[in-house]
Subunit: 256 residues, 2 copies
DNA sequence: CGTATCCTTGATGCCTCTCAAGACGGGTGG
DNA sequence: CCACCCGTCTTGAGAGGCATCAAGGATACG
C-alpha cells in the first residue's frame, strides 16, 4: 500500500474525454483519470495544454518503429494499436494489443529509442504527449511519476501472464485466455463484455499468442462447434464465458 | 533523452557495497549506484539507514510468495533468485532470473500483494527496502522515482525479449539466447563472461525458457558436441560466443 | 465485377513433450 | 574412508500437438 499515493478514481471514459483529460492506462488496467490523480485545476489546464497534440492514424500506419528516436507517449482515444518486436530473420512477436483508453510507449522510457514498433489496427485517434513537454509536466505535477510507476508495474504483471501463456499453455488455453482478458478490458472501458471486436487478423492473433494463423482458425472453429463462442469475421461473441475462463486456466475441457 | 534526469554513473559493484550504497538495478541492465543518482551526502546517509535491513536466504527459501502482502523491494547483494508464476493446475513459469546487483519486487508496486513468488537459488544475501520506509525515501530523494521508472522500463524491455523467445524461437535459439544474455549480465557485474555459474537446475532453466527439462539437456549436449560450450554440472563455459550469438538470433546453425 | 486480402480446412511432417530407465555426483552415516 | 541414498542429469523410444504446405472459399474494396 502506497501511503504517499494520491487515491485514484476510475471514471467513465466518455466523461474523461469530455473533460479534456488524458485517459491514461495500460493493457489490463482500468482507465485512470490523471486529472483526479493530479488534483488542482491549475494542473489540469497544464495537462490540457500538453495533450492537445492529437492525431489520427489509419489502419496499418506506424505510430513509431523500432530504433526510432523516442519522442512521445501515446494515449489511445479511439481505435486500437498493436506493438511488436522482431527477430533478425523477420519473425514477428506481437507483444501487446492496446485498446482505447490505454497507454503505449512507456517501455522505451529508459532508452532514447523505441524498443518496439506500434501500428494502428484500424483508424485510431491518439493523444501524443511529447517527451520534452512531458518533462514540464513531471516537474510541476508531483503525482505523475508515481502514477506512471503504477501503470508500468501493471504492465509488468501483464507481461508475466503472457510469459506463462507463451511458455506453458496449449493452443486452446491461449485462445481462451485471450478472449477472457479482452472481455475484461472491454468491460472496463464500457464496451460489451461478451461481444468483442478483435480488430486484428487471425495472423496477428497468432503472432500475439505464439501460434500459427491456421491454429488460431482451427481452435476458433472448435470453440464454435462446442458453442463456446460464435463469430462473424472479427466479431466474437462469448456464449459461455465461464467455461472459457475454466479452459484458460487449464480446465478439463482442454484435457491437460 | 531525459533532460530532467540526473545522470547515472555505472560503478564497480564491489565499490558500491564498500560505500554502503544500494546497488540498484534489474535483469539485463547494469548496476546503477543510487548514491550517484541521488547526489548529496545527507541523502546518502538516509539511504543507509533505510537499507540496513539485510538478510540471508538459503537455497530454495522464498523471499516472498504469490498473494502475500507487499512489504519490501529486494536488492540482491550476493547469490541469485528466481521469480515465477503458476497456472491453477500447478504448471510453473519462471519469469525472471536475478543475480547479484539486481532488484526484485518492483512488479508488485501497483498491487498491495506480490504477483509472483521469489526463491533463492543458492545462499543469497539481500537488502530489503521496507515499503513504509521507502516512502520516506521517495519523499526526500527527488531522483528516486525517476530512477525506478527507468529500471521498470528496462524490465519491460527484457520481458518483451522473453516474449519473443517464448513465442517464436526454437529450442536451440532459446538456450543460445539464455547463455548470451547471462554472459552479458555476468560481465557487467564483474564476473567472467565466458564461465557461467548457472546456479539453477536444468528443470528451472526449462521452466524459464518454456522447454522440458529433457530438451534443455539434449540441446546442451548438442552444443557440447559442436564445441560451442563445455559444461560441468552447472558451470558452463562459452567456447564460441560469436556462434552462440548468431544462433540466438536465428542464425544458420539453427536451421530455421 | 475483378482483385486482393483474409479466412478456413485438409494432409503431412517435425519439433518437442512425455514416459522411462540408467548414470552421475554430492552428502550422510556407519 | 567407504557404502549408501537421493536429487539431478542424461539419453532413448514413442507419441502428440502444432507448424507447414497447399488449395479453396468468403469478404471487402476499388
Amino acid at each position: 500500500m502506497l501511503a504517499f499515493s494520491t487515491p485514484l478514481k476510475r471514471v467513465n471514459p466518455a466523461k474523461a474525454v469530455e473533460n479534456q483529460c488524458v485517459p491514461i492506462a495500460c493493457a489490463d488496467c482500468g482507465i485512470y483519470n490523471l486529472c483526479f490523480a493530479v488534483g488542482g485545476d491549475a494542473d489540469l489546464s497544464l495537462l490540457n495544454t500538453l495533450v492537445k497534440n492529437r492525431r489520427t492514424y489509419r489502419r496499418g500506419e506506424p505510430l513509431f518503429s523500432i530504433g526510432e528516436p523516442y519522442r512521445a507517449v501515446f494515449a489511445i482515444r479511439s481505435g486500437s494499436v498493436k506493438t511488436s518486436v522482431l527477430t533478425d530473420d523477420g519473425r514477428i512477436q506481437v507483444t501487446g494489443l492496446h485498446i482505447a483508453g490505454e497507454l503505449i510507449g512507456l517501455n522505451s522510457f529508459v532508452a532514447d529509442r523505441y524498443s518496439c514498433e506500434a501500428r494502428a489496427l484500424e483508424t485510431t485517434s491518439v493523444c501524443e504527449v511529447p517527451f520534452d513537454r512531458y518533462e514540464e509536466l513531471v516537474a510541476q505535477v508531483p503525482g505523475l511519476q508515481h502514477q506512471l510507476l503504477k501503470i508500468m508495474s501493471q504492465e509488468i504483471i501483464h507481461n508475466q501472464e503472457m510469459m506463462l501463456l507463451l511458455g506453458k499453455k496449449r493452443a486452446e488455453e491461449r485462445l481462451a485466455s485471450f478472449f477472457i482478458n479482452l472481455s475484461r478490458r472491454f468491460k472496463r472501458h464500457g464496451k460489451p463484455a461478451e461481444e468483442l471486436n478483435l480488430s486484428m487478423s487471425r495472423s496477428d492473433i497468432g503472432n500475439y499468442l505464439g501460434l500459427a494463423e491456421e491454429t488460431v482458425c482451427r481452435v476458433i472453429s472448435r470453440f464454435e462447434e462446442e458453442s463456446l463462442i460464435s463469430t462473424q469475421r472479427r466479431i466474437v461473441r462469448l456464449l459461455q464465458p465461464a467455461r472459457l475462463q475454466s479452459i484458460s486456466k487449464g480446465g478439463p475441457s482442454a484435457a491437460k
